[in-house]
């Protein structure tokens, strides 16, 4: 302590317990209570703001993107793509001749990349053995808490077009 304090004629106790109100760093209970209440109130208001904002916000609009040609994907075949941004890794699976599904490749557990197992018709996560149904993305087994987000695919002739990301209800 003494190393940090500059030399002065006044003894320490006079500075610490100054008799002058102008030197006081004293915070009264009232001041402190006010501070707490105001800060809490600010946070509350902030939360309200977020809530209101979410009510007022429209569903996001996603761009259309050409993923692949149907003819390039064999049955039980897989195509990896990025949608809607280059950082969103997705996986497209052709389950049957006329059935194509696509999901986000990020496992809902800890975001490992899932892969397709044709025998089991499941999307498997190698990290913790989580498995998702290829039909609808729901969780079959393992730690993932939520189904895989679905990518809406439209088949236009031979083209496979990604239309958007399905917003999940809680599941």
């Amino acid at each position: 302590m003494n190393l940090l304090r500059s030399k002065s004629a006044e003894p320490l106790w006079k500075e610490e317990f100054s008799v002058h109100t102008s030197d006081e760093r004293y915070v009264s209970r009232r001041q402190f209570s006010k501070f707490l209440v105001l800060t809490s109130a600010a946070m509350f208001v902030g939360n309200l703001w977020i809530l209101v904002k979410s009510w007022l916000t429209r569903k996001p609009v996603y761009p259309e993107a050409l993923i692949a040609n149907l003819s390039d994907v064999p049955v039980a075949g897989v195509k990896l793509f990025n949608y809607p941004t280059p950082d969103d890794h997705c996986i497209l699976v052709r389950l049957a001749a006329d059935r194509v599904v696509a999901y986000s490749q990020k496992c809902t557990h800890l975001s490992c990349a899932v892969y397709y197992s044709a025998e089991r018709k499941q999307l498997l996560c190698p990290c913790h053995n989580g498995s998702f149904s290829a039909e609808d993305g729901s969780v079959i087994a393992g730690p993932p808490p939520r189904p895989l987000p679905k990518i809406e695919i439209e088949t236009r002739g031979d083209q496979l077009i990604a239309r958007g990301v399905e917003t999940n209800a809680r599941g």
Binding site: K14, F17, V19, H20, T21, S22, E24
Partner: protein, 191 residues
């Protein structure tokens, strides 16, 4: 009040004790008079003196308070002890070189002149200086006191302790000793 100072001139005091009576009429300490009033030596003479707290720059009472209960505000007024903190130890009463703080035993609190804070904080003058008929206690601007023959002084030396105060004492220019026995004036005494 900004720009106003308190001046005490005992040479003007006529001993009426109007200050003492008016002091207990102010709001801050209603019913308790904080003025110190004395006849210096009534047998020898009629000299009287009334004093308020001197509101020292470094108040001794505050320095010795073990409970940090006495505070001097930014306007220079030293207040009575803070009631939640005061433990009625009487340290301040003993320490003050002027003998100003008074301990009110029933209320267990030190009270003293606070320059009628309820009045001076809103631009009025303290009770004692307002009513004093001889203006021995005066609360005026320095330029209003300048015409007096006595001059203001606020430095007191008590042994090794030199004290400077907010309240000024009016000090006479060097004067000769004044006879104050009526008998010394009568003709028979001088013949």
């Amino acid at each position: 009040m900004f720009g106003y100072e308190f001046y005490i001139d005992p040479s003007r005091c006529i001993g009426c004790r109007s200050c003492l009576q008016a002091c207990e009429e102010c709001e801050t300490h209603r019913g308790h008079s904080m003025i110190n009033f004395d006849f210096i030596d009534r047998e020898e003479g009629i000299q009287s003196a009334a004093y308020v707290c001197w509101h020292c720059d470094e108040p001794t009472c505050a320095q010795v308070c073990p409970a940090d209960a006495i505070k001097k505000g930014e306007d220079g007024v030293v207040h009575s002890s803070l009631k939640p903190r005061c433990i009625a130890c009487n340290n301040c009463v003993l320490a003050c070189p002027f003998g100003i703080p008074k301990m009110w035993e029933p209320e267990q609190q030190m009270m003293k002149c606070d320059m009628c804070y309820d009045r001076t904080s809103i631009g009025k003058r303290p009770m004692c200086a307002t009513v004093c008929p001889s203006q021995a206690l005066a609360y005026v601007r320095p330029e209003d006191i300048a015409h007096r023959r006595e001059k203001p002084s606020n430095t007191f030396v008590f042994g090794n302790q030199t004290i400077t105060t907010k309240v000024y004492m009016m000090v006479p220019e060097p004067a000769q000793a004044v006879i104050i026995d009526a008998a010394d004036y009568i003709w028979e005494a001088r013949r």
